[in-house]
């Protein structure tokens, strides 16, 4: 019961922060709120027994994302230029989509239900057999590195591709600057 109350309270905080992010014009403040949002969701993951996810979210989601967003802000603009009031078509689209999804939740298994379909498929095998088959006490690690190793390999490929893309986008910049500077220098000399 205690956990449920903590869970409900933390989720309520998340809602408040999300609304604040929508309304605030200062992008620096919005980025900071997003960091708090990530940290709060990490606490929610702890209450929902996902400790590995919690510390990944706290370090990668709250840490690295915030740093990336702040460095982007330092290269661009800090204040969002205002647009007049809420725009009705997006609100309508979001409301309709949201209501459809809420309608769909009535078919979902209830929170914490041990008989939910998700707990009947491969998960029992992981929990029962991984101690013998993989011999690592943390089941999440066994699944991540062994049973679903190809997934993790795919993830590594995605991260590598993203790194290459960022380097291509931002790495070439200095070269161009140098070239244009050189051109200017040459132009000035001639």
């Amino acid at each position: 019961m205690m956990l449920t109350i903590i869970d409900l309270t933390l989720l309520f905080f998340l809602v408040v922060i999300a609304i604040a992010v929508v309304r605030i014009k200062d992008l620096f403040a919005a980025t900071m709120l997003l960091g708090i949002y990530s940290l709060l969701s990490a606490s929610i993951f702890v209450t929902l027994d996902a400790v590995d996810v919690a510390f990944t979210e706290a370090s990668v989601g709250a840490g690295i994302s915030t740093i990336l967003a702040l460095s982007t802000l330092s290269l661009t603009a800090r204040i969002e230029k205002g647009h007049p009031g809420p725009t009705w078509i997006p609100i309508l689209v979001c409301a309709v989509t949201g209501l459809t999804l809420i309608y769909a939740t009535f078919d979902m298994p209830w929170f914490g239900d041990p008989d939910a379909p998700i707990h009947q498929h491969v998960a029992p095998h992981y929990l029962e057999a991984s101690a013998e088959e993989i011999d690592i006490p943390n089941v999440v690690t066994s699944v991540l590195a062994s049973y679903r190793g190809f997934d993790t390999f795919g993830e590594t490929v995605v991260v590598f591709t993203a790194l290459v893309a960022v380097l291509l986008l931002l790495g070439g910049r200095k070269g161009e600057d140098n070239e244009s500077n050189q051109n200017k220098d040459e132009g000035g000399a001639s």
Binding site: V15, E80, I91, T152, E155, V159
Partner: protein
């Protein structure tokens, strides 16, 4: 009734957060703000998955003697992958924003359209 509310509350909050992020993505004209909205959306999906993996009275899926009920480890694995991939895509998006700022000298979508006469 109260049981139903507690049983589905997590999903409803997740849907609200998801739609908030979606609203920021489609209604905001600032490109950095759009990416912030995308992050809100993304984190709400993570909470959806982890909520489904929770078993009442279960504990974290780390094998220990004397414990019989564990939460489902599979969503945790999927979301670990998703968090890292999410940060990678955020990095690419923000790098694109930096380049757009250099090319157009603005990160407001409507001003970019004005410069291009594309809308």
């Amino acid at each position: 009734m109260i049981d139903e509310i507690i049983g589905l509350y997590n999903y409803w909050v997740v849907i609200f957060l998801m739609m908030t992020g979606f609203y920021v993505v489609i209604a905001s004209t600032n490109l950095v703000k759009k990416i912030i909205g995308l992050n809100i959306f993304q984190t709400s999906v993570f909470i959806l998955y982890i909520t489904m993996g929770k078993v009442a009275d279960g504990t974290a899926p780390i094998l220990e003697e004397g414990i019989t009920s564990y939460s489902n480890p599979l969503p945790h694995v999927l979301i670990l992958t998703a968090i890292v991939v999410g940060v990678a895509t955020t990095a690419v998006g923000l790098a694109l924003v930096v380049r757009i700022k250099e090319a157009y000298d603005t990160i407001e979508e409507d001003e970019i359209h004005d410069q291009d006469d594309s809308l």
